[in-house]
Symmetry: C2
Subunit: 242 residues, 2 copies
């Protein structure tokens, strides 16, 4: 009997990748508008390479971009990048299509909800609070707060323990076959792979760990109800067998 549905945050509940892309493009455009003497393609590709090397939470993207482009350290250009980046992030932060309908439907039927996500705790909470997703979820588990990352079983075990459910009473929904699906399956949870965004065609080696694959989150409530109906039928027939 499923009691709890866990969701991943980035690119499952929040449209993170699309937003980051827009924010980075607007940053480069604004830097050029304020005098950065490089064409858009060159600067943007250099920024992507840099993020690839230093990670997306690195705090000095635009300073390093200037160094990589052999340009002088000009705080005006950096500020232009920072402004456009933040403005975009705050203005265009969106949930993935269907998120609210899905969460409402799950709550209406009585499922308890949680978030299991990697990332910086304050940045993750910023997205949750800015989108007012907070009231839907009983608990939020963030790797950098707990000291363990998906797909390590410990983060899933901690979540199950805190929500007081057994693995077979929980479903994990996420866009990453490796961290979300393989991770949750290891501890015995049911898994729904949300085929979305930049991981829609990656990590396919772990496809076997997905019990279900969906292209829209709105399929999730039906699947979860289906799992419980199956179980009811099974226990019904067991009763009859007695």
């Amino acid at each position: 009997m499923i009691k709890v549905v866990f969701f991943d945050l980035d690119d499952t509940l929040v449209d993170t990748t699309k937003l980051a892309e827009m924010a980075r493009q607007n940053a480069i455009e604004n830097m050029i508008r304020h005098g950065l003497p490089v064409d858009f393609e060159t600067a943007y590709n250099e920024l992507l390479e840099l993020i690839n090397e230093y990670g997306s939470n690195f705090g000095k993207h635009f300073d390093y971009l200037l160094r990589r482009l052999d340009l002088p350290n000009n705080p005006k250009w950096v500020a232009a990048g920072v402004i456009a980046y933040h403005n975009t992030k705050f203005t265009y932060l969106r949930t993935v299509n269907g998120v609210r309908r899905t969460l409402l439907e799950l709550q209406r039927v009585g499922y308890r909800l949680g978030i299991i996500t990697d990332g910086d705790p304050i940045k993750q909470w910023e997205k949750i609070l800015r989108l007012d997703l907070d009231p839907y979820f009983e608990e939020v588990f963030i790797s950098d707060y707990l000291g363990v990352k998906k797909p390590h079983p410990k983060i899933f075990e901690k979540a199950l323990r805190k929500m007081k459910v057994e693995p077979h009473e929980a479903v994990m929904v996420g866009d990453r076959l490796y961290s979300d699906i393989y991770g949750a399956k290891q501890v015995g949870m049911q898994t729904i792979w949300f085929r979305y965004g930049k991981y829609a065609n990656r990590e396919l080696d772990y496809l076997d760990y997905a019990d279900f694959t969906v292209d829209s989150l709105e399929e999730v409530p039906k699947i979860v109800r289906g799992l419980n109906d199956e179980e009811e039928e099974r226990s019904d027939s067991e009763v009859h067998a007695d």
Copy 2:
């Protein structure tokens, strides 16, 4: 003959103190709204003390606030503070009353303009660009970029050299008697003290270094014109004396 007018940035062109106050109050309110179990007065006063000790550019105000209040490290509360703080800063960033009229008037009459400010270069440029003050100014001199702070003569000397004027051809306008007025006077510039904000009654030991005191920036163009008229009269009478 005055050719250049320099302005300080914080609390002279930009209403920084008022904005920071609002941002901090909104941050505390939002933290309480999201569950911070402390009353507003206690939390706000603790935050002010903390900022007083660690400085306003310290990056972990809200984390440290929780520690000081003996509360657990809760990233949700920190995020609530960060969100409200940033939203306020971006939404309510304003120039001081009369700034644009003053700058336009000075430009119209043909004065060249510059900014001489302390602080973090990227944060200072953020304010300048967000308020679109950039086009008014020929040069911006920021202490943390140049490696020397007001009132050290070097920052004023660098500014004069870059703008290619002599000290007596320049006026400094600022809200701080110590860093702006005493600093500029040391190198021989004319000085206008803008008596405004939290420094309106401080550092009065340095009052003697102010050639003029104004309560509104809109008095600046008249004063600068007055300085040049005086000079013209003087050189006229010198001609007559020949």
